[in-house]
């Protein structure tokens, strides 16, 4: 209660003691922010047609949809399984393609390996562009250009992945220790030799981890892409929904979920194995930070923009791997002096030098080496099988490049004029969808977050149940949720808002739960010792401490959701995606490019704004 300006001796002064806290700058900021959030919520609900009555009604709609879907029927399961396998191969082929194509771009766009200014700018430009266009937009374009089928999906994901992998690979090259590189250069090694012998061994673990992370993202994307005709399980979902056979749709969603969850588990396991096999002081969290930093600056909504789960799985700090042997301290006067002693006498290599013919000339066999080489072989074989399955042949690639060239040519010059009022209106609608979903989603996910924080959860069961709910929720991509909500409540922004709101449980909920777990515990313990109840502890001990973090997560969520909202319209859930889709369907690619550029500018602008806001508050 002591104010910064006055001493505690309240009795002597004439003014009565202060009974409310003074208005500090921080408090005012939060108050203003609260008002702004409330205002935004009201306006956005109005704009997107969300009202309490409609929300309640939608619960009935959802229950209705679920009843129509239940029980799931399995009699087409072989067909879905095939589609699921195709989806998996699509992911492998797309990621493999992206890896192969990303490496040259990464090399050219890393400052320490690029060949010149022009190569640097061109490859950076390509990387930015492939990433700026959401993968689902690429998919629309490819489906138009080369027809319905998995190949379109593979190319779309592959192209979009180049943007991410190329950039992160290049970062890894730039961060690799420069000493060995300089040493090789000083020894007369050529550029390509330096690259292969000096840089490659240093960046490979990072590259592999990043690629696995990209596999996670692509799995989530792939189930969506099918929905616009790019093959795989998503295509099946679109088909059965079109035929209104909802019980089958539930089966398909369930299978999608299984695929996403199992691939995520496998890749998390593999990443962990890679990291623990490393004897370096490199902190695995650096990788995590790198991915996060990358995501923070990610450009307009890729289909999986709200994905957060992949890298979070607790990767322990690097531990000494099997390759470690005990270090011998150099034995003074032992080998060294013997070497020297022999020098003048012999004039050739001394007698103590090891017998030239005797030493092993190949590295000793070790389980680590075996594991490494066998995983590499498996990955390569899997990639080729996948290419074969999805029809990714050199000819296919070449002909699709031609098709892409034609589409690309049709994009210029971008047409900003046609129907600009409509575009503007839909851009605004996109924004309002994101705002409504963020505010409602934060409110909905906060209880989940509190239950899912280990240090606050009232019981083991509540903790487990809440974490599980988040995990399940994360396993269903937002766009699939949007598809289901469109079926339940009809076309329009309302469905989009609902999809993203529910999506927040897995996304913001998990972020908040992790943030709460990291809060300093003494405050909470202190309240326990006072005899406070659980709710009292939450409201007095946890929420005030967590508030800045929660606000920060809210702003971040809004940032991510603006990107996600740009593509909701493709499945009819409101926002700019609808127009985007129709321009592709009518081959008006010049308008497509114009819209993509507008989205890019808007998203980038908001990203800067939200970054600034977060800095102000935290």
């Amino acid at each position: 209660m002591a104010t910064p300006s006055g001493p505690l001796t309240t009795g002597t002064s004439a003014t009565p003691p202060r009974l409310r806290p003074p208005w500090t700058l921080q408090r005012m900021r939060f108050a203003v922010l609260g008002l702004v959030a409330f205002g935004l919520l009201v306006v956005s609900m109005h704009q997107t047609g969300v009202s309490p009555a409609r929300l309640f009604a939608s619960i009935d709609d959802l229950i209705g949809l679920f009843q129509r879907m239940w029980p799931p029927v399995y009699f087409e399961w072989r067909r879905y399984l095939d589609a699921l396998v195709v989806t998996f191969f699509m992911v492998v082929a797309a990621t493999g393609l992206a890896i192969v194509l990303s490496i040259p771009f990464a090399v050219l766009s890393a400052r320490n390996t690029t060949t010149g200014r022009i190569a640097y700018s061109v490859s950076r430009g390509i990387i930015v562009f492939t990433r700026a266009v959401p993968d689902i937009v690429w998919a629309l374009v490819f489906v138009r250009a080369i027809g319905i089928g998995p190949l379109a999906g593979v190319l779309a994901m592959g192209l979009n992945s180049i943007g991410m992998l190329g950039k992160l690979y290049a970062d890894a090259i730039e961060e690799a220790p420069q000493g060995p590189i300089e040493a090789m250069r000083a020894g007369g090694a050529s550029r390509i030799q330096v690259l292969v012998t000096g840089i490659l061994p240093q960046v490979i673990p990072t590259w592999v981890s990043l690629s696995l992370y990209r596999v996670d993202i692509n799995v989530r994307t792939s189930v969506i892409l099918g929905f616009v005709g790019a093959g795989g399980i998503g295509f099946e979902l679109q088909r059965v929904l079109g035929q209104l056979v909802y019980p089958r749709a539930l089966t398909i969603v369930f299978m999608m979920f299984l695929l996403i969850a199992s691939v995520e588990q496998i890749s998390a396991f593999a990443r962990k194995a890679i990291i623990s096999g490393e004897v370096t002081d490199e902190n695995p969290f650096k990788l995590r930070a790198r991915v996060r930093a990358y995501r923070d600056e990610r450009k307009p909504g890729s289909a999986s923009a709200t994905d957060e789960g992949g890298v979070e799985d607790g990767q322990g700090p690097a531990v000494a791997g099997p390759a470690t042997t005990v270090m011998d301290p150099p034995a003074p006067g032992d080998t060294t002096s013997r070497t020297i002693a022999s020098a003048p006498a012999a004039g050739t290599l001394g007698a103590l030098s090891i017998d030239p013919g005797d030493g092993p000339l190949r590295p000793p066999r070790s389980t680590l080496r075996r594991k490494k080489s066998s995983s590499a072989i498996i990955a390569v074989v899997l990639f080729f099988v996948s290419c074969w399955v999805v029809g990714l042949t050199p000819q296919g690639l070449a002909s699709s490049l031609v098709a892409v060239g034609q589409v690309g040519a049709g994009m210029f010059p971008p047409d900003f004029v046609t129907n600009w009022e409509g575009v503007l209106e839909m851009l605004l609608e996109t924004f309002w969808i994101a705002v409504a979903a963020t505010v409602m989603g934060m409110i909905l996910s906060l209880p989940f977050a509190i239950l899912a924080a280990r240090n606050v959860a009232p019981s083991r069961f509540a903790y487990r149940a809440s974490r599980f709910a988040m995990l399940v929720e994360r396993g269903i991509p937002e766009l699939i949720l949007a598809v289901l909500f469109v079926v339940a409540v009809g076309l329009g922004p309302f469905a989009g808002v609902l999809a993203l709101t529910v999506g927040a449980i897995g996304f913001s909920g998990k972020l908040m739960a992790d943030a709460i777990e990291n809060l300093p515990s003494p405050g909470i313990e202190g309240l326990t010792s006072v005899g406070a109840s659980w709710t009292q502890r939450v409201f007095t001990g946890v929420l005030p401490q967590a508030m800045p973090l929660i606000v920060g997560i809210g702003i971040y969520t809004l940032d991510v959701y603006i990107r996600a909202a740009t593509i909701l319209g493709i499945v009819g859930a409101g926002g700019i995606g609808g127009i985007l889709n129709s321009t592709v369907q009518t081959h008006a690619y010049d308008r497509t490019l114009a819209i993509v550029l507008l989205i890019f500018v808007a998203v980038y602008g908001f990203e800067r704004l939200s970054g600034w806001l977060r800095q102000q508050l935290l």
Binding site: R185, A189, Q193, T336, A343, G347, I354
Partner: protein
Amino acid sequence: MKRQSPSKDLLRSRDQQPGSSGDPGTSGAPVSRGETPSVEVRELVKRFDRGRVTALGGVDLAVHPGELLVLVGLSGSGKSTLLRTLNGLETPTSGQISVFGQDPSALGRRDLRRLRHRIGFVFQQFNLVGRVTALENVLSGALGRLKGPRYGVLTYRPQMRREALEQLGRVGLAEKSFQRTDTLSGGQQQRVAIARMLFQKPELVLADEPVASLDPESSRQVMEVLFACCAEDNLTVVCSLHQVDLALGWADRVVGMRAGKIVLDRPVDQLDDASTRAVYEAPGEEQ
């Protein structure tokens, strides 16, 4: 300071070469040999940051074949810059450089590679690839004479591997050949770097404070390995060093630098404590 153990004296193979006319005591014996110098720089100036920092302010120096020259000087006096300019890692602002009769700053990429291959460089920070085996690091010394990229020990011919193992043996690390380099101690890593340099089969060795990040005992050991091997292969050596005494018994000549200029240049026999100390102290009355 002039501590010269008998064993070390015995090892000065250089002094027993015919070239030095059996009179190791004579000052500047190598210099008076009249051969064309391996390295010659004139009026060498190097500025950084658009001329704001002068690292080398007009250096004249000649190093003769087979000579072992030690470069001393305060931190920031320009030792590293001088060494790096000699093999083209830095381009001079002005002045002339000649290494084996060639000017590294004027060479095309391919010729520069060829020249660099004749110059071994030992770095203070070892500059090894930490994740790969010691042998692979040694093998990478041969890249300058190989065509095409190499990845992994098995991409080098067995004969090369055998030779690389020999070099590891010379520095006393034969049994560590397949250990990951970043699990070796600092002194061992620098010895791997020396083996890499030797495997490169250079004619000139530039060593930039090779022991500055090592403890005294490893420092002594590493310097002995470096100098002994270079002496054995009859290499020309320019080595910057903070502890001159580590080079006594090996060095022919000591050159002191201060603020980008050479302030001391004399045969090691004529060296006394005072003149060495002067390099590190008040602005020079030297020369």
